[in-house]
Point group: C2
Chain length 531, copies 2
């Protein structure tokens, strides 16, 4: 039986929220931001608390958002997704018709996994990974000279790159001191060249990640690296690994030392907890750390099944996002982690969110009459405070802000200066910005005025570890999925990538044929040399 797929504007709660949005709560009003409000609009989570007192909401708005969640059947759809329903589909039109089971990759700790076949496949890959990592440690897998591998070059693009890269950067303090990872994604030949300049290929494993085994950028980069291996007198089959679909062109023991599998029910942008992230992470941190990471994600998935929006940070974050975007009209969301380690996490979310919900067709094939997903962008604070925050405070674009912070630093190496540690300064700045956005400030000089009333939330965790990283990742995955259900779009396909691929192929053909280039605006004026 299918879930109830309903247009958001057919919900009763939609009309109520529309009405409430005409006069939203004004954060900049006198005494709007009381301790009582901050305390009340606080959602305690297992890994992350959500502070939403600086959102433009009232109890009435929250009640209406709860009704919206109930009418859209968000929790039930989330449950069906985890259980293996075919959620990647359109009604009435041809579509991918796939299950969406990234959650199964981490549902490995329960005696009764929700979708046992998928979890069993995930477990089988983890067994392979554990054995492989043990062989690396024992030295039974080594280079031709008997030396251990100390470097991994991870080759992938989009979903096979951004998540793993963000997570690796986030967890650097937990890295084994004898191992390092580099990433190659771009078809730009300078991307691979820059990495190859800095590695000793003889001690390098090359992990090629492509579900289809046919991604052109990834194949080009793999070929570049294989050529470099051969030029260095090394046997690529001894150095190369793959993460790919079973029986894809990259599932070939003649070419790869090991192949780890990724199944068609896991979309690229949701694949970080599959072998796409786990092989790299296992090499860099160790197998136990992979399990901690998965445990964090599993716990968050479980917590996200809660129907009460006030007790479910992922669901609440999703609905506050819908409030800001659909009802208050904010086009963009700035993700601002007060953690340098998360410097690539906004880029991962940009992909995961915008590729999922950047759609304009509902799941019944009808055009969506309102806006779907927002633009996601962001950089770490405090850096951003000295950069683009000027526009957030005093500019003319209204941006929804999502702060992320941690009470402790990762390494806890700190100093006191002017009465506070750097970590205290960091957190004080996060809270100060949240308040400054909300309350604003008047001044006789118009140039020194801050209008305030800028909506923001804070996700606050204790410390960034493999486990909390897994939780943070799963929290945002769930947020994105909830919003997609709400807007009634299929968050799991990406037809928007097709046209560019086709045209790139045609331009390459025209370049290749050296014809007079009548096609494609003269192959874009002889490939933009013009004339």
């Amino acid at each position: 039986m299918s879930s109830k797929w309903q247009s958001i504007y057919d919900c009763k709660a939609y009309a109520i929220l529309k009405r409430l949005a005409a006069t939203p709560f004004d954060l900049s009003a006198e005494k709007a931001l009381t301790p009582e409000r901050l305390q009340k609009f606080f959602c305690k989570g297992s890994a992350f608390d959500l502070l939403y007192g600086c959102q433009r909401v009232t109890t009435e708005v929250l009640d209406a958002l709860q009704s919206l969640a109930d009418e859209c059947d968000l929790s039930r759809q989330f449950g069906k997704m985890r259980a293996g329903d075919v959620m990647n589909r359109l009604e009435n039109f041809p579509s991918e018709e796939r299950q969406v089971l990234h959650t199964s990759c981490r549902d490995i700790f329960s005696r009764n996994p929700i979708c046992e076949p998928a979890t069993n496949q995930a477990k089988a890959e983890l067994v392979k990974l554990k054995a492989f990592l043990e062989e690396l440690d024992k030295g039974t897998i080594c280079n031709a000279r008997g030396q251990s591998y100390n470097t991994l070059v991870h080759i992938g693009i989009g979903g096979s790159d951004l998540g793993p890269r963000a997570i690796y950067e986030a967890l650097l303090p937990y890295r084994r001191k004898d191992r390092v990872v580099h990433f190659i994604a771009n078809v730009d030949p300078d991307d691979s060249a820059a990495v190859l300049e800095n590695v000793d290929l003889s001690r390098t494993l090359v992990l090629v990640v492509s579900k289809s085994g046919t991604t052109l950028e990834t194949l080009s980069n793999e070929t570049l690296v294989r050529t470099a291996l051969e030029d260095a007198g090394l046997d690529p089959a001894r150095h190369c690994l793959s993460v790919t679909g079973e029986s894809s062109p990259m599932d070939n023991p003649n070419h790869y030392l090991r192949s780890f599998y990724l199944y068609d029910y896991i979309g690229g942008r949701f694949s970080s907890t599959s072998m796409v992230g786990a092989v790299m992470l296992g090499f860099a941190l160790g197998y136990e750390q992979v399990l901690e990471f998965l445990q964090g994600a599993a716990s968050l998935d479980e917590a996200s099944t809660e129907k009460d929006i006030r007790s479910n940070p992922a669901l609440l974050l999703a609905l506050l996002g819908v409030w800001n975007h659909t009802f208050l009209g904010m086009s963009t969301v700035a993700i601002l982690p007060y953690s340098q380690a998360l410097h690539r996490f906004p880029a991962h979310l940009q992909q995961c969110d915008m590729e999922s919900n950047g759609k304009s067709v509902q799941r019944n094939g009808e055009p969506l009459q309102i806006k779907s997903g927002p633009i996601i962008w962001g950089e770490p604070g405090t850096n951003g405070q000295h950069a683009f925050y000027q526009l957030l405070h005093q500019g003319t674009e209204d941006v929804a802000v999502e702060f992320i912070g941690f009470r402790k630093s990762q390494r806890e190496k700190d100093i006191q200066l002017k009465g506070s540690s750097s970590q205290q300064k960091l957190i004080a700045n996060l809270l100060a910005q949240s308040m400054a956005f909300a309350v604003g400030k008047n001044d006789n000089n118009p140039n020194n005025r801050f209008p305030g009333n800028k909506a923001n939330t804070i996700l606050m965790g204790d410390k960034l570890t493999p486990e909390s990283m897994g939780a943070l990742l799963a929290l945002y995955e769930a947020k994105i999925v909830f919003q997609g259900f709400c807007w009634n779009v299929n968050s799991f396909d990406q037809e928007g990538v097709q046209l560019g691929k086709v045209l790139a192929g045609e331009i390459l053909s025209a370049m290749d044929e050296k014809d007079d280039g009548k096609t494609l605006a003269k192959a874009f004026l002889t490939t933009a040399g013009i004339k």
Copy 2:
């Protein structure tokens, strides 16, 4: 005599453009994108050509944009800025009242510099830098053991960080093989800890960059690094350099081996061609490469004085931006470099643009009745094609796209695969995306439809070198300045950073005093531990 500072909506051209914007050119119409159009809407520049056939403009629109440029006196204001007029000011209200002379840092090749006093100051710093770099090479500056310095840790934030970092990353292939640079910006103690784990402090120079000499994040990080030097038994005064204002607290020979000066007429976000960028670049690449970089910027400044918008890429890019933002209502600009080396350049532009033009008060102190600067974001292609391009193609937000590409790769290390090199694939993808955004595609399946008609430009250069990097930087600096003039905002102050600073100080005090925290919503509920 002051320039003519006029509200954009008081210009005659404003009304004309408003009228034209009601029925803008439709790029997705049958045969809209002809070779003739692409050839005609092409602006030949010295370092970068601007291809704007995929903008929603006609000859009539361009003529009106030319009139707008003329009425707003853009070229003359640019000239006055370069000549040393006090352009950083408000009329009728207290303001910074400063000159804006970042261009003087590169106006060092002409016999008749436009603002001789500033250029003489820039030249004096370059002489100091040259001598310093020679001493490093000769070994007369070395560590206590007589070893050369092979590492530079650059400490700064915002304008003292993002530009230098983006440029360093862009020019890595030109780096001296015996030298490397690391950056620390964030007050997050994990930022400095991550860098300190990876350097041999005994062979490291520490460059601290702060115009005022009092930036809290930078001082904290300097203290952390000085402590680490002392802990390693090293003398900080032998390892530390500063870039700062003359006679600031950081202009102190007892604490710094050398101090290079930055003058108050150079704003942080425009400071990359001053000593803020030059010291790092001179260390990493060499003095001659610094001159090439400055030469590229100088030539572009000169080219940007041209009044004919069709012959001035920076001015034309600025006006096309005004057309998209002010008249067609696009809230954001995506900067998409098809060059992995430029991966941090969008973050620099995000700062430079949003901190300059994220204002809502005109230069006469009156509120701006329309929107000022847009939100700037972006990541390199082709990576983005596998990420957020889905939303650009099929989502519901209309984004103005600025592509940047180069005909050649930096290292020219490449391979052929399936009939083309990686560089050819890269450029073919850039052009294909440009066309796909413009023309779109119909389909019986609504999920496979592309509406098209998405405005985009291409900045196309030959190769990313120190010289073309300087040109690209100066081109965008000029674009931002032209747009600020157009919207009649003061692009050179940043009052929006003040409120957060004050509140952070108050929260730190409340934490410090361990009082009952009645202030500041109980110091944001005891610094977000809540309760």
